[in-house]
Point group: C2
Chain length 354, copies 2
């Protein structure tokens, strides 16, 4: 992003903007640079940032070690519709979703780059709210945005690239027979919230509906919880596409079978999820198994090293695939979740235990 | 990107694909992983890659020092139209354009992440050609693709994030009064090529037209030439938006005036550019000054340290802005190039010296 000598007050510039259309690219970059500028106290603590927004590339000073690096896109009418959340939420969600991959690698975030695709009709105010949402998430995760790119497009799309550091990140491919399966965080809430937004139903909202919608609109990357996996988990993944789908990645990569205990999983489900599922006439477990975007963490590791926040929801066995079992049922194989190009949820088994 | 245990032969899988529509997301990721897998010899030399495609994030081992990090998007119907270039070119261009920022920072590329947005109607064959084009560029620049993201969207968009290393990158803000202005590489050819494609004219193509179109379709990030700026250039930028526009960034950031010698610049222009410009009834200089996407390098530094490949096209003076001068003319101020949101080229002065 280009650097401007004058740094206008963002609020003042916005207030002065009467027309609904956008300002020029260079003016916008100057606003964003101003908005994302770190307070002096943070600049001292984050002294690894040598050059931020305003040059051809950001420059970071790092020590010898492992960098952990990921990228994720959040696209209008694919991942969200503008009516479902406000512009700040769009920015927040995109940033948290991208950084969540680092949580699964037990990493400490260093910094992020943000590539924005913006329709020409997007107003300055909406852009500023998107960037504010990104920045709130960046501050919350201590992962400053140090550069990016801006281009026009038909739909809003935010692609966030995040760098972090981790000494020995748990990989998908390292789950071992005999490991426990751990869940950290809630699953199913965000999918239930999304279902409420998509169907605009139940119309009369209660606190359970609000809690589910908030889980979808304002997810949080579990960075600190992820760090408790260091030296404990053999394998880990964040649940973006649904528990079954993401568990399948570990099963395939590690060449093992993951057996999920439906009774144990049911016990982790929040009362809000159960209430909303009931209104939809669906089992809460189906949201938990196949619903994504909660960004909970799912890991495999030895019971002797279980982190405090982890809840045991199954075990690793010889074999392949992801299986569900309950006290009174034979195990049934579960198929994975959302496929972007088939465009549907693959639901093979839906044990209605709840 | 997810990891698949079975690694199918890409060519065989594609040949077996009869239907025009796409495969599933996970099958595609497995193909891409197979296609981008490094040959054993490269895996040895690029031993900094601890984990590539197939986990929540890539893991790179680095030594203590400066990371240089950038991101760039290439979007259908904004940066290109499918009729103007083939799918391999789309992949190649997007990768070279992103990596070019590292050339301007005198950096050595380490690795890249690729975030793909793909219409649901995009065929497997087209996707594979896009990825092959990216991979050709990645191999050419010794900058392997180690991960990414894939999502559906209305239009093709490729967002490439590139990491490199550089000890003391030249910044936009460090040009000094008295410096020479250096040009490395050609300017104007790509814009002339784009003009040919946009107007589908002149219809009878000759070698000059072909050369210009090739410059637009197959640009090359000047990584090696950028490295010759180390310890020599005070400031540098790659010319993506046009010489005048990018020079303006250095002028603003360094708080100096850049005076471009139109006679010297004219002497650098390629005969192919001059022939094509003539057919359009435009001066070749107007393409050179305001046309972007050649990814030449523009730098400022002391004459005593001029790199061998640099051609002197002006000097840094006290003042502000970018100016053009020629032997028989008073200097005139030049305004910057393309603005994504105003959507037009700003051409203030166009000295027809050619």
């Amino acid at each position: 992003m280009s650097q401007a000598r004058q740094r206008p007050s963002t609020q003042r510039s916005l207030a002065a903007t009467k027309r609904p259309g956008p300002s020029g690219e260079f003016e916008r970059i100057a606003w964003i640079q101003h908005l994302l500028e770190l307070p002096v106290k943070d600049r001292r603590t984050l002294s690894n940032i040598q050059v931020g927004i305003g040059d051809d590339a950001a420059v970071l000073r790092v020590n010898r070690g492992n960098l952990v690096w990921t990228v994720d896109s959040s696209i209008e009418d694919v991942h969200f519709k503008q009516g479902w959340l406000d512009a700040r939420d769009i920015g927040w969600r995109s940033f948290q979703a991208a950084t969540s991959d680092l949580a699964a690698m037990a990493a400490t975030p260093l910094a992020a780059l943000s590539a924005l695709e913006l329709p020409k009709s997007l107003t300055d105010r909406t852009l500023m709210q998107i960037v504010q949402g990104q920045n709130e998430a960046a501050e919350c995760l201590r992962c400053p945005i140090v550069g990016g790119n801006m281009a026009s497009a038909q739909k809003i799309a935010i692609t966030t690239s995040v760098l972090g550091q981790a000494s020995k990140p748990p990989l998908r491919s390292n789950a071992k027979v005999g490991d426990e399966l751990w869940l950290i965080g809630d699953v199913g809430l965000a999918a239930a919230g999304l279902a409420c937004l998509m169907k605009n139903s139940p119309r009369r909202r209660g606190s359970a509906v609000d809690a589910c919608i908030a889980a979808w609109r304002r997810p949080k990357a579990l960075i600190e919880q992820g760090q408790t996996l260091r030296g404990r988990a053999h394998a880990a993944i964040d649940i973006s596409d649904g528990l079954v789908g993401d568990a399948a990645h570990i099963a395939e990569s590690s060449r093992v079978a993951l057996h999920i205990d439906m009774d144990a999983l049911s016990e982790t489900l929040s009362p809000e999820l159960c209430r909303v599922a009931e209104r939809f006439n669906r089992s809460a477990l189906s949201f938990a198994l196949y619903g994504g975007e909660d960004y909970a963490l799912f890991a495999a590791g030895p019971g002797t090293r279980r982190p405090p926040a982890a809840r045991v929801i199954g075990r690793v066995l010889d074999g392949e695939g992801v299986w569900g079992f309950a006290q009174k049922r034979a195990p049934s194989r579960l198929m994975r979740g959302f496929d972007h190009f088939q465009g549907h949820w693959v639901v093979d088994a839906d044990p209605a235990c709840n």
